[in-house]
């Protein structure tokens, strides 16, 4: 009786345990070569430096009054670092270590492969952004009213989620190309402009503005700026929902793309591509 229920409980908890283990192991496999100082430098140090740099640029260009607006933009763009370089390079890293074919041949469904990989990065990205704000508060006098913290945090979580979803797509595209680094860097650098983090979106040509609105983060940056300016979340729910939708759509496209590429690879006998 007790034995049975234990088994039941274990079985019930299994998917979660598997998820957590998959997430931590895939994360370790990728960053295991680094020690924690390096981890701090790569995952936090350089994104924060980028944030400081562009905030200072904006500070000079637009004057002191608008500082937090640009800090918010550049802090949120940091989630792309994790998304693009962390999640985006994952499948290629698996391929390089020869483990991708094992993943493909495994009985897990595609979401089961994908999701765990992204989940830790969501929190990693979130952590980076929050640290960015702390740095901003210490060095650039950034302030955020206490009442807006919960809403702000929610907005950041959603932003990080949709950035990760974007990372999954990059990850698939990375498999098609030998120039993974080229794709990763172009993707990450373009975000500095495309999301409206550093200059008003209206300065771009109309077609680029359209792309900008289909990208993750554009809405979140707008939302966070509004929240920081003292507006309430309920007035901007459309931005929050919009971001969630963008994230889910990207996630869907990512999984679809991966299955599609897998089929093509098997059909053409190009499994070495993986």
């Amino acid at each position: 009786m007790t034995k049975n229920s234990t088994i039941l409980r274990v079985a019930w908890a299994d998917p979660f345990k598997r998820l957590i283990r998959k997430a931590t192991l895939s994360y370790k496999g990728l960053f295991g070569v680094m020690n924690w100082q390096q981890y701090l430098m790569v995952n936090l140090g350089s994104p924060i430096m980028q944030m400081l740099c562009f905030t200072l640029v904006a500070n000079y260009v637009y004057g002191y009054t608008d500082l937090s607006k640009w800090l918010i933009g550049n802090a949120l763009v940091m989630t792309y670092f994790n998304a693009v370089f962390g999640v985006g390079s994952q499948l290629s890293a698996e391929r390089n270590s020869g483990t991708l074919k094992l993943l493909i041949a495994s009985p897990s469904d595609r979401i089961g492969i994908f999701l765990p990989r992204a989940i830790l990065h969501i929190f990693d990205g979130l952590f980076a952004v929050i640290l960015g704000f702390v740095v901003g508060a210490i060095f650039l006098g950034f302030t955020l009213p206490l009442v807006t913290w919960p809403a702000f945090l929610l907005a950041l979580l959603v932003a990080s989620f949709s950035a990760m979803a974007f990372g999954l797509i990059i990850s698939c595209l990375g498999l098609l190309s030998r120039d993974l680094n080229l794709i990763l860097n172009i993707a990450s650098m373009s975000m500095l402009g495309l999301t409206g983090a550093n200059f008003p979106i209206e300065r771009m040509p109309v077609w680029l503005q359209t792309i900008s609105h289909a990208m993750p983060l554009t809405r979140s940056i707008e939302l966070c700026r509004a929240l920081q300016a003292g507006e309430v979340l309920s007035a901007h729910m459309n931005l929050l929902y919009g971001e969630v939708l963008v994230g889910m759509a990207l996630m869907f496209v990512g999984v679809l793309l991966f299955s599609f590429m897998e089929k093509i690879a098997v059909k053409r006998g190009a499994l070495e591509m993986f």
């Binding site: 790569v42 350089s46 260009v61 030998r178 680094n181 402009g193």
Partner: protein, 260 residues
């Protein structure tokens, strides 16, 4: 002497040919000047022509040059490890330090070309007039800066030969230098204490010379920066040579020459 010169040119040519085949380097010298040029152009769109020329046009080029140094000089040693050729070039009679210097020069030619690319992109894309008050000094500034970046690259290569974590380090060196050296915004935006640190990096001095070339002024104002830049470059060079001599012993004692 002649054979050492042959080693230098041969290594530079080899590097010039191979490095552009690398995605990351292609990003640094082709994509980044374009993206940075457009990005900074957009940001500096409504500032004065001097600011636009200095930071959007030259700044994007300079920062790109710096990135290409970060992502080549450091990682080239790492890459030789990866190819398994590090042992061969290390034990070659030509002397490891000459081979590496050749590589840095080869990369820097690309870095310089990337400045040209970003200048072209920004001038073509934006309807802003560029100002160059002293074209001669622009030439002087750019040449001195190139020499100095070669020296820094060389120093980095030395430091990174000793470390297996070259890639990690160089990733981190990119933005702090943009910030510290006033490449993308005036140095004066930084706190005074930080500005002192800035002068330890030669790009800071180079930017001052470029600023003079763009905005104009008295020659006597720019000369201290010229002397400063030259001295720093020499110091970097000297330091690199010392490092390379140290490497010769250290990496064999510590067995850090190769990855396995």
């Amino acid at each position: 002497m002649i054979s050492t010169f042959n080693v230098l040119t041969s290594s530079a040519v080899q590097q010039f040919k191979t490095s552009i085949g690398r995605p990351m380097f292609r990003f640094c010298v082709i994509a980044q000047p374009i993206i940075f040029g457009l990005l900074l152009g957009m940001i500096y769109l409504e500032k004065s022509s001097v600011d636009f020329t200095l930071y959007a046009v030259l700044g994007s080029g300079l920062s790109t040059f710096w990135s290409s140094i970060c992502f080549s000089s450091a990682s080239d040693i790492h890459r030789e490890r990866w190819y398994g050729t590090l042992e061969t070039i290390y034990a070659a009679p030509a002397g490891f330090k000459w081979i590496v210097l050749g590589k840095i020069i080869g990369n820097s030619i690309w870095g310089f070309l990337s400045i040209c690319l970003s200048v072209t992109v920004v001038t073509l894309f934006f309807d802003k007039s560029l100002v160059i008050a002293q074209p001669l000094w622009l030439g002087i500034g750019l040449s001195l800066m190139t020499a100095s970046l070669i020296a820094i690259g060389y120093l980095f290569a030395a430091l990174f030969t000793l470390s297996r974590n070259a890639r990690v380090m160089m990733n981190f060196m990119e933005y702090p230098v943009y910030i510290l050296c006033g490449i993308l915004f005036p140095l004066e935006m930084l706190p005074k204490a930080v500005q002192v640190l800035s002068y330890a990096f030669s790009p800071t001095w180079a930017v001052k010379i470029l600023r003079f070339a763009v905005a104009g002024g008295e020659v006597s104002q720019v000369l201290p920066y010229v002397y400063g830049l030259i001295s720093l470059t020499l110091i970097y060079g000297l330091f690199s040579v010392v490092m390379f001599n140290r490497i010769d012993v250290k990496c064999r004692v510590d067995a850090t020459l190769e990855v396995y």
